[in-house]
Each structure stands twice: as C-alpha cells, then as structure tokens.
C-alpha cells in the first residue's frame, strides 16, 4: 500500500493519570491512523510500542498529560508531556532494568525498567526533558524509509 500523506497530519489525546481502563487508547488511535495512511507495518509497530510505553508512564506516574502526534511524508513525530513528579537522574532512568515503580505497579505487569529504553530503541530520534516537581516531556521521531 502506497503512503497517502499530504502535508502534516496532527492529532492529540489527553492522558489521565491512574486510569488503567483507558490506558493504551491513544496509542491504538495512532496505530489506526497510521494504518489508514498506508504506513508500513514495522514502522507502525515501532510507533505504537514507543507511544504505548510513554502513555503507560503517564498513567503510572503522572497526574495527567498530553500526547501529540505529527505525521508527515518524512515520518512521525510523537510528543508526550506530563504533569508528573519528574525524573531526577535521566541517565539512570535510561538504564535497562532501573525502575522506581512501587510494588502495585509491578503487580500490574509494569515497572520492569524497560519503558524508556524501549521508547528509545523504537525511535530514530529520542529526546527527554524533565524537571523534578513539574513534569517530563518526551519527543520521539520515527522516519519513514
């Protein structure tokens, strides 16, 4: 299927902290949109995984957040901003296996310390900016081949 993208297509979803019932819906909407546009399956999967991990981080750690996506003929840019506790040591948080998740989060199957590394692994460009006590912004770019 050929790519069917003209200009930049944008979308946003609000994310609610602690709401595990709707967690993942924003990523699913992005996945549906990319499928409609004829994006290759492996690119869709990378974007969906990176976005889902980011979405779950907001649901687990923050009070609320926003997911914005921008799809152009060159690729996908995903920006996730949250009003959460922030990350004191980003270098440590990026290490596979490092997690500050409480036990109840681990019991739900999250908090393995793979979230941020997984986002970076599935992105061509990954940036993270965080202020303790204010929140975290993650931006990911996935280029089309």
């Amino acid at each position: 299927m050929a790519l069917n993208i003209e200009g930049t297509i944008e979308g946003s979803s609000q994310l609610i902290g602690g709401d595990f019932t709707t967690a993942g819906e924003a990523s699913t909407l992005l996945k549906v949109k990319l499928t409609e546009l004829g994006v290759a399956e492996d690119i869709i999967r990378r974007a969906a995984i990176a976005t889902f991990e980011a979405e779950m981080n907001v649901v687990i750690y923050a009070a609320a957040g926003w997911l914005h996506y921008y799809i152009s003929p060159q690729g996908i840019r995903i920006r996730i901003e949250d009003m959460g506790p922030g990350i004191a040591d980003i270098g440590l948080a990026m290490q596979e296996g490092y997690s500050t998740a409480p036990d109840w989060v681990r019991e739900m199957g999250w908090g393995a310390g793979m979230g941020l590394p997984n986002m970076k692994r599935n992105s061509d460009v990954f940036t993270i900016d965080s202020v303790v006590g204010e929140g975290t912004t993650v931006e990911m770019v996935i280029n089309f081949p």
């Binding site: 595990f20 967690a23 993942g24 999967r45 995984i49 889902f52 997984n118």
Partner: protein, 116 residues
C-alpha cells in the same frame, strides 16, 4: 503451529472462540511483565501470561501478538474479553503453569520470540 494444536497441547479451552482455529502462530513469549513483552515480541506470536488485566490485551494488540494463553486456569475480566473480541485476539486458558505451558510448546516445536 496452529491455534488448535496449541490448545490441544496445553489442554486449553477457548475463552473467546477464534474466527480461524487454524490461525498460524510463529513463536511465543512468556511473561508477566508487559514492557518485556513489548521488548521481546515478534509478529504473529502467542503470549503466555498469568496476568489478566485489560492492558494485557492492549499490550498484545500494540505488539502484534495474535493470541493470548492465560495459565493456571486464570480468566480475564469481561472488559478484557470484550476488547479481545473487538481486536480479534483469541483468548485461551490452560491448567498448566507458565513453565509447563512454555515447555510443552517449545518441545512441540514452537520457538521463543527472538531478541532483536
């Protein structure tokens, strides 16, 4: 390996009936940690898990996992069953524990998801 063969090997029952019992499964991943599933998944694979929350189905959908087996006779709640139905992800439950379920399928020739 087909879904029907997997059900036979595990003595599993279908929680949601598959549209196609001959659906071909290429590999399997056993985990209760969803980030690990997102890290190690392969397309057209089976997830073996003891976790029954709604977001297990969401994780499967995002990762391209096409069926889920719940171990130790566990069953997800109705919302998870409904979502799996919408996403056409067949759900099964087996009396086997995760170790036994994984071992039986591996011995029968179903490989693990590769670490890419």
């Amino acid at each position: 390996m087909t879904l029907k063969e997997i059900a036979d090997i595990l003595g599993a029952t279908f929680i949601t009936e598959p549209d196609n019992p001959d659906l071909h499964i290429r590999s399997a991943c056993s985990s209760d940690m969803m980030s690990a599933v997102l890290y190690y998944h392969s397309p057209d694979s089976l997830l073996i898990t003891g976790l029954t929350q709604l977001h297990v189905v969401r994780t499967a959908e995002i990762a391209g996992i096409i069926s889920i087996v719940f171990v130790m006779n566990k069953r997800p709640d109705e919302r998870a069953i409904e979502l799996a139905g919408q996403k056409k992800i067949p759900l099964l439950t087996t009396p086997c524990c995760m170790y036994t379920a994984s071992g039986r399928l591996f011995r029968a020739g179903l490989p693990g998801c590769s670490h890419k």
